[in-house]
Amino acid sequence: MKNFMVVCFIGVCVFAVGCASTKVERIDVDKTVDYSGRWNDSDSRMTAKDVITDCVGRFWIKNFREQEGRKPVVIVGDFKNRTEEHLNMDVFLKDLERALINSGEVKFVASADERGGLRQERVDQNTEGYTAPETVKAIGQEIGADFMLIGSVNSIKDEASGRYVILYQVNTELIDLRTNEKVWFGQNHLKKVVTKTKYSL
């Protein structure tokens, strides 16, 4: 009887391990959760915030305001993924844009990808007979950007025996669109150590 109980107990354990159930837990958006060690939403958010805080706190803004008497207009350009992971660069770019707008130090205009749709909408509005004249937005009123923010995400990985350390380096540059002068350069680092266990129960 005792042996039978032991066998049943082992069987129940095996089934319990094999059984799948779905568990959902809502957490705060700002909470950092790491599962795989890869670049995730927390990395994107924290890096974007650090990049923009550094960027808008530098002399180029003060110099521009003194020269032009207004806030600079910034556009986000191309950000290259030079890592060995497929990063969702859209998420990172949106985090950058959000941080830029929320800083209140710059004006921000739509990127090249977004402008196509906006221009089409204006052409539609200006097509006679559809839109109330007093609400039509004239073509040729776009604000030109003064600066473009571009950059890249790079990574260096060192790996052995199921453990690896990965360094992400985010390089960001602000370029004067009139003169091609680089007015600001930012570099942010993020380092992770990931350990994978060889065995589990």
Partner: protein, 468 residues
Amino acid sequence: MIQTARISAEDKAPVEHGLFLIMSMISWRFFRTIVICIFLCAVCSSCASVPAVQRRLRRLAAAGDFDRAVEVLARLPEGSYGKNNQLLEALDRGMILHYAGWYRESIAAFETAKRVYDELYTRSLSKIAASWLWNDAALPYPGEDFERAMINAFQALNFAAIQDYNEALVEARNVQSVLQRINDRYQAGQKNVYQDDAFVRMLTGILYESTGQRLDLNDAFVSYKKAVAGYEGHFQDDYSLNAPDVLLENCLSLAGWMGRRDLDFYQRQFLDKTYVSLAERASRAEIYIIYYHGQIVNKVQGTIVLPGMDGLLTRISFPKYRKAFQPEREIHVRAVSPEGQEKEIILQKAQDLDAIARQNLENRRLRILAKAVARPLTKQILAGAAEDVVRDKKGQTVGDLTYYAANVYLLYSEEADLRAWETLPSVISIGRLILEPGAYDFFAGKEKIASLAVSEGDKKFIMHWAAY
């Protein structure tokens, strides 16, 4: 299974008669023993070594009926291959979708494959224990080293096919980590092991070149050098594969870009092979033809039945590759312009997955055989002990039945692990056409394989599968 049979008084047989024995043994304790054995076997087995659905997909793929294979995949719920074959399922999905030209869907499947492969790094002790009580089908299929590298290769081609060269380069970078991880397992210069993949290195170099940026051209040159070293080293020794002309030409053109010293070195090494300079290639369009031949050879089971201890029969099973015939056939690919101008190349064998798979299994043969011998021995000891206990407690007759059940268990449970990524091609050939900008139709023999419009500086890939 317990069977009962009614007997009449006239038919009543001596105590040794089989039917009477069965009836007399249907007691709670005996029933419990049988239930426990069946329960343990069911828990340990999970599913057959090779999922039946994979065989069906393989047959469709072998016939080149990828549209039908995609339909079958679309109807298959996730997990159809079984819990231990998630990697296999993702690999087959990715491959068939790639062959069928569903590149975006193939990307998703191969990303799943990469994720599952990483998760399988952690091995389950309970499943390892179960594999010793049953067979290796109780373990999740972990994938071979060369299969892991080929995921990156096909994934890179998927991204190149949808002209997302940035993401194709992510695959190129990732495969370097993968190959480094594989390489680190072996000592330098160790023979007959899959330490590196010259074909994947060559593909990586081509993709790095596609951006035209200085940093990437450096990386392209490094990849080409490693590919050349791979072909001239273990690919030649182990798989009888020579470096394709496109690799030698690209290496030379990058060497020319790097400087005189590198160019002189490689010109001497390649016996003054001609090449087109990087600048000239950038002013025209390059079309790379990736030609998949047939299907990779599949595993079959080798079996030896032996008498074991105490008269118990045992079976030693091991996987082996069946003999397969690879016809040698020259593939001529032509680009034909609307004006009727033609340019033709002959493709060259660049990757022999049959040979790699065989070599890979050969390298593990001793380990596989050692387990194939040790496991039945372990089972025999356990079965023998169980039989002795049953014989002591239940008597001679029940002991005999346990003996027969143990034989069935020993013979039935010993199955070789025949699982593999069976939808891989047998051989991959490559060639490159350098064309003036314009529109072209591409033919492999008489078969039209693609129509493309190309501009200056374009680098495009045409992937095509044929039975052979």
